[in-house]
């Protein structure tokens, strides 16, 4: 998990602010200038130092930065991998929201060692959803918020996403309310099940 997150932060900073900024973050965090590998294990300490260094370098709160990382992961035109995998969750944004409860299991199908926190979804009224995210990995919550906002855009849905009041939040203080105002507000981005090329025949 740390490897994937560190690599995501690295991709976001390098693409948005340039290699020099990312190089300064690595130096400030006492990390190797080679950066991070998504499939290699890293410890919580390295992760926290990188977050602190990013926050200082960009002069932005960690949560804001992580939310932008989430948006970047979906919206970066140079890397459609995550966006496409998430779009397999459903044909509409509401369908996609319902698939989020399966997300940890979908992730495990791809990477058996990946332990995503459990995601809970309740639809309290038509088009009004409450989302909660397990507490095992707090840094994922702002990333998930960014991913969710970018996915709504990708589906062309008009949504209001807000943190729920503390009284309604779960044990680690997270919880989102998602209000689906219009399913086809914008044009969204096209999603074809197939990437285009026809696999070899028999």
């Amino acid at each position: 998990m740390y490897g994937l997150l560190l690599r995501s932060i690295q991709a976001y900073l390098r693409a948005t602010f340039g290699a020099a900024v990312w190089g300064r973050v690595l130096r400030a965090a006492g990390q190797s200038p080679d950066g991070f590998e998504p499939m290699l294990p890293y410890d919580a300490d390295a992760f926290q130092r990188v977050l602190a260094a990013c926050s200082a370098e960009l002069d932005r709160p960690v949560e804001t930065m992580l939310e932008d990382v989430g948006t970047f992961l979906v919206a970066d035109p140079g890397n459609q991998g995550l966006r496409r995998l998430l779009r397999f969750g459903g044909a509409t944004f509401a369908d996609f929201l319902h698939s989020l409860e399966e997300l940890p299991d979908r992730a495990r199908l791809a990477l058996p060692d990946l332990e995503l926190p459990q995601i809970g979804l309740t639809e309290s009224a038509p088009g009004l959803f409450q989302l909660s995210c397990g507490c095992s990995f707090p840094a994922l919550f702002p990333v998930a918020l960014g991913v969710l906002r970018a996915m709504a855009d990708d589906y062309g849905a008009l949504v209001l996403i807000d943190p729920v009041p503390a009284a309604l939040a779960n044990a680690c203080g997270n919880g989102l309310s998602v209000q689906l105002l219009e399913t086809a507000h914008g044009s969204g981005n096209r999603f074809d099940l197939s990437k285009g090329e026809v696999p070899y025949g028999w």
Binding site: D34, E37, P38, M39, L40, G81, R84, L85, F88, G90, A91, T92, D95, R106, L109, A110, L111, D192, L193, S194, K195, G196, E197, V198, P199, G201, W202
Partner: protein, 349 residues
Amino acid sequence: MDGDPICRQLSGMDAVLGCLMPMHLVLDAAGRVLSQGPTLGRVFADRPLAGCSFFDLFEVRNPRGLVGPADLAAAAGQKVRLVARAGDAALRLRGLLVPMPQIGEGVVAGWIVNLSFGIDLPRAVALLQLTDADFAPTDLAMELLYLAEANVVVTGELGALALRLEDARRQAREEAESDTLTGLRNRRACDSMLARLCREGAAFGLMHMDLDYFKAVNDTFGHAAGDHVLVHVAGVMKAASRAGDCLARVGGDEFVMLLPEMTDPLGLRGIAERMIAQLKHPIPWQNGECRISASVGFVTVGAEEMPDPARVLAEADAALYAAKNAGRGRVMQADYPTDALKLPLADAG
């Protein structure tokens, strides 16, 4: 199935079957199409199928005996493997054939065949531009497509990681086997290549070169001048060697050249003498010039001799010191009894 009109208006049996099983066919008793699910229609480019014979639409791969309407009863309840006769794609399908409920005693009203793309799913999706709406919600097609794509993403990442690690490994090895000052290989690299040549029974020549008057350069001009001279020597060695030769700095001012296939004493002597002649030219340094020379001892090893590497080095070393003692700036060939290289170093006396 949001985009599929057939599931919005569930009037009539055809619509109900089409919504539940978008890849089904209803056949009459003679095996002619009565109706079909919308996705199966896509396989045949949505052309009208009613009245077409099942056996004209599909090539039956299995069961073997299913070749005409009379065989349908025997295939009922069995898995069928088909190839659609539609375009060049030859999509493979698999499914199940069951009889429709009987109208009267002993009379078969027809057959229902429900099909799926099986392993040809990714091809079918690409060829027919299928969407989520073309599959029943009970179908695992979405999960399979997701998994296939996730697999490509993960394998791609692992492949890229393997490449980066291999790159890092090569670089680390390069650094571990290089002399940082001159860019030549170091003693470790030289030892490992010598060991390999000996082990493989390869023919080669080995030169051991030691600089003359190098200490005086260091004492007179300082270590920076000494370093400058060593880099110059490396350049002379590179110019005198071939691509496959191993050039190593093995000590302060000691060098080894390993020359695979080079066993001609005259040729080796020629190379060594040319290097010495060049090294005797004064080497400019700041306002002065450094003067050095070099002494070389060399040894040749024939194919299949497979000597002890330490013994080869010792003989070249002995020849080098003979060259030094004979007045420096000279080349000497190792002089040892026939077959002596095969003896372990300790027995040589």
